[in-house]
Every structure is written in structure tokens, then in C-alpha cells.
Amino acid sequence: MSEPLKRTPLYDLHRELGARLVPFAGYEMPVQYPTGILAEHAQTRNAAGLFDVSHMGQVRLTAKAGHNAAKALETLVPGDIAGLQAGQQRYTQFTNERGGMLDDLMVTSTGDHLLLVLNAACKDSDLAHIRKHLAASCEIEPMFSRGLLALQGPQATRVLARLAPNVATMKFMTGAFFRIEGADCYVTRSGYTGGDGYEISTPSNAAEPIARRLLAEPEVKPIGLGARDSLRLEAGLCLYGHDIDTTTTPVEAGLLWSIGKERRLEGGFAGADVIQQQIKDGAPRKRVGLLPEGKAIAREGAEIVVAGKQVGKVTSGGFAPTLNRAIAMGYVDRAHSANGTKVELMVRGKPVPGEIVPMPFVKHAYYRG
């Protein structure tokens, strides 16, 4: 028998708002609210949307005496963690011995410790992985009951500044402690929509009052996982378990930007030999953006064909509401990965012409100061 579904601190609020709840990564999560995914997508692109991402795993690492938590974490991820100043955030991945990815994650340094945000579906295995390798050097504190709210969109800063004025001057990929509605929160200027916005880590019992307070602002509406997926796809961002997994390397996935120069040279993380080899010689395949012609949607699993031969597979595909057209991403053999390459995407057995294009599909709107 499967385990009962878990609920986030906002479960009752989702019900009250009329959300359609679905099982996701072991949680009962809102896929959409009554207005629907298209309206929620537009709301987030044009004003501000509030997402419950409390199902994601928050973990705090603190160095034990005589150890360095950032250096310890660097044995598991290729990102430059030791170089993080207090209040800086980085995107990185847990790698395996083959250079594949166990998960992708956000790491923020508070100066005293590191805060990790892990994918919901991976958080238990990530935690076991962290404990196995870092128990000697770090205090490892899972904070899985905390709330995590993402406030995203061009109006997010104006809205959140009403509750915490200093968030307005934060830059993309930075974090700081704030008192919001009387609760101690950690706010980062980040998100996964490609737009400006914040993620707010709250004590469990403060998640709902803060969510209600934000939803009372005229610019804000609740947004479900459906629009979260279409927003991140437009932004060209990877969804773990679909666009990246244990068999894809950060080089193949086009995530080389997230690996610091020194770390590329020095290695010292799982799978470094494979990743360094791919940096030197090129990866055998590459993650690319795809634009299918017409209205048909090439979804996950659709074959990518060049001159009658399969050269890859779609890993995410859907309708891009901002562009009013279908978009997709997938992996193709390196020889066919150049922008402008004409391909065919097999949709329900029929070839749909398409083209390899650069990502993102919708320009990022991060606030860099």
C-alpha cells in the first residue's frame, strides 16, 4: 500500500481557494485554482503570483568545529560554494560518480550556515546522501516542516516591500533574514519562473497567515503547479526527473554556467572526471530548445528526427501562454544540436516540422540591481 499523501501548511487554504489538488511528490498539491492555468500564467507574468512550494526540502548545514561546511558540500556538488559571500545564493546539482545528477538545488550562505532547497521528490534521498557524506563535518538539520512561499512576477517586489521594505533593494540570487507578520523568515530574491520574485522560508505556523496577507494584496493571486510548469518551461529551466536526472550531466544539460571556473579545473566532486572530460571534448548530446511548427504540442517522450533518423527525445513540451504557441526542450546528438537545425518531432506518430532554437523562450526578467 502506498503511504498517505502529505500536506503542506497551506493545505486548508488551498481547499478554501477552490484548488484542484493532485498527488505530487508524495504531497497533495494544487495543480490549479478555479481561474485555470492560462489565467494563472498570465497573472504571474503580468502582476504577481503566490506559489506554495513548501513541499520542497529545506535543509540547514552548519560546520562542526574545525570544519568548513561550504568546502564539505563542494565534495558533492560542482558549484562554487566556498566562494559564496554571506547572503549570496547559488544554483548547483548533486552529482553521482558518472557525472549524472541526483538532484538540482539552491544553496544560500547566511554566513553562519548554508541553507539548501531541494526538490520534493528527491529530498529524502538527498538527505540520506548528505548524511552519508557530510555527517563528520556538518550538523545537518532537515527543516521539512517549514513553509516555503514563492512570490513571483513584476509586482512581487512592490507587494513584498509593503511587509518588509528592505526586500526591494535585494539583488537576484541573494538572501537575508526578515521579520514578516511577526515571524522570522528567510527571504531570497529567486524563483523558478524566469521572472523577478522571491522565495520566503517561514516557520510552519506562519506560512498560512503570511500567504493570506500576501493574497489580500490586489496584485496577488494564488498559482498552482500547472502554471509553475508552463512558466519554467518558457524560461528554459530544467525540471528534475524530466529534463535532468541521474543519466544526464550538467554539461549535456547546458548547466556549465553553474560550475565555477576553479571547480572545472580542480574537480573534487563526484563525477568530476566525466564532467571535466566533457568540458574538454564536448558532451555527446546537448539539451536544446525546440519550436514545433503549427499548433501540435510535442510533449515529453516525443522522438526528435533528422533525415529519417532519431537523434533525440523531447524531455518537456507544452503550450507557452506568453507566446501563444507550442514550445519544447529535449536532448539531441551533438552533431544535430546547432541552433537553426531543422528537425521533425513525432507527435502521435506524425512528423511535425520544427527547429532547434536558443533558450529561454521568454526573456528572463531577474533583478540584478
Binding site: 492560462l38 499548433k295 501540435a296 510533449r299 502521435r348
Partner: protein
């Protein structure tokens, strides 16, 4: 008066004379969510009862639409290409998919009337 029948795949068919207009029910559109594209069958196509004849793409997923009857397609709703949202806003009106000349009106007897369909939908929740 037009006679509307329903299939357990959540299609409706409104029959006038020997031509039926086919679409999906309100329950179906609610389950699918926002519709962004409908691939409707071409005029003249011969279709069989239970055959996959159309595809509805919602933001979330692609769904096959099965013909509730056999016959020949006499008209497809071309307006859906520009206004796929009609399927959500008026599933039994402007959101119709295609018209079919019935090959065998007796097939209608195997479909549900409104009362039976409403009870069927209730049994699903």
C-alpha cells in the same frame, strides 16, 4: 426537438435528422483544464464508433476524443483553431467539434440520456 445523448467517454452528440453534432461535456472540459488546441477530423472522413477521431490539447495533456457513433464527417468546427477556449466556455455550444452523418441510428440507443449521464458523472466523484 434535438435529442442529446452522452457517452461514458464524456462526449455528447446532438442529433437533428440523420446528422449529429459532437463535442465534449462540461465535466470533460473541467477535467481537461484550459484547452489550447483541438485537432478535428476532416470533412468526408469515414469514422467508426469508438474510433479516436480528434485530439484535445489542454495546457496539461493531450486527450483522444472517441466518436460516439459511426458515419461520415460532414463538417468540422474550424473556429476552434482561433478560439480553442470555446471548448471551456461553451462546451455544448460554440465549442462543438464536428458533425457526422449517422450510418446507424441504432447506435444512439447505447448512449445515455442527460439524466443517466448526470448520474454517471456523480458516480465518478
Amino acid at each position: 426537438m434535438a435529442d442529446v445523448k452522452y457517452s461514458n467517454e464524456h462526449e455528447w452528440i446532438r442529433v437533428e435528422g440523420d446528422v449529429g453534432t459532437v463535442g465534449i461535456t462540461n465535466y470533460a472540459q473541467e477535467q481537461l483544464g484550459d484547452v489550447v488546441f483541438v485537432d478535428v477530423p476532416q470533412k468526408g472522413r469515414k469514422i467508426a464508433k469508438g474510433e479516436s477521431v480528434a485530439v484535445v490539447e489542454s495546457v496539461k495533456a493531450a486527450s483522444d476524443i472517441y466518436s460516439p457513433v459511426s458515419g461520415e464527417v460532414t463538417e468540422a468546427n474550424g473556429e476552434l483553431a482561433n478560439a480553442p477556449g470555446d471548448v471551456n466556455s461553451e462546451p455544448m455550444g460554440k465549442g462543438w467539434f464536428f458533425k457526422v452523418r449517422l450510418a446507424n441510428k441504432a447506435e444512439l440507443d447505447g448512449l445515455m440520456d442527460e439524466k443517466a449521464y448526470d448520474a454517471f458523472v456523480k458516480s465518478l466523484s
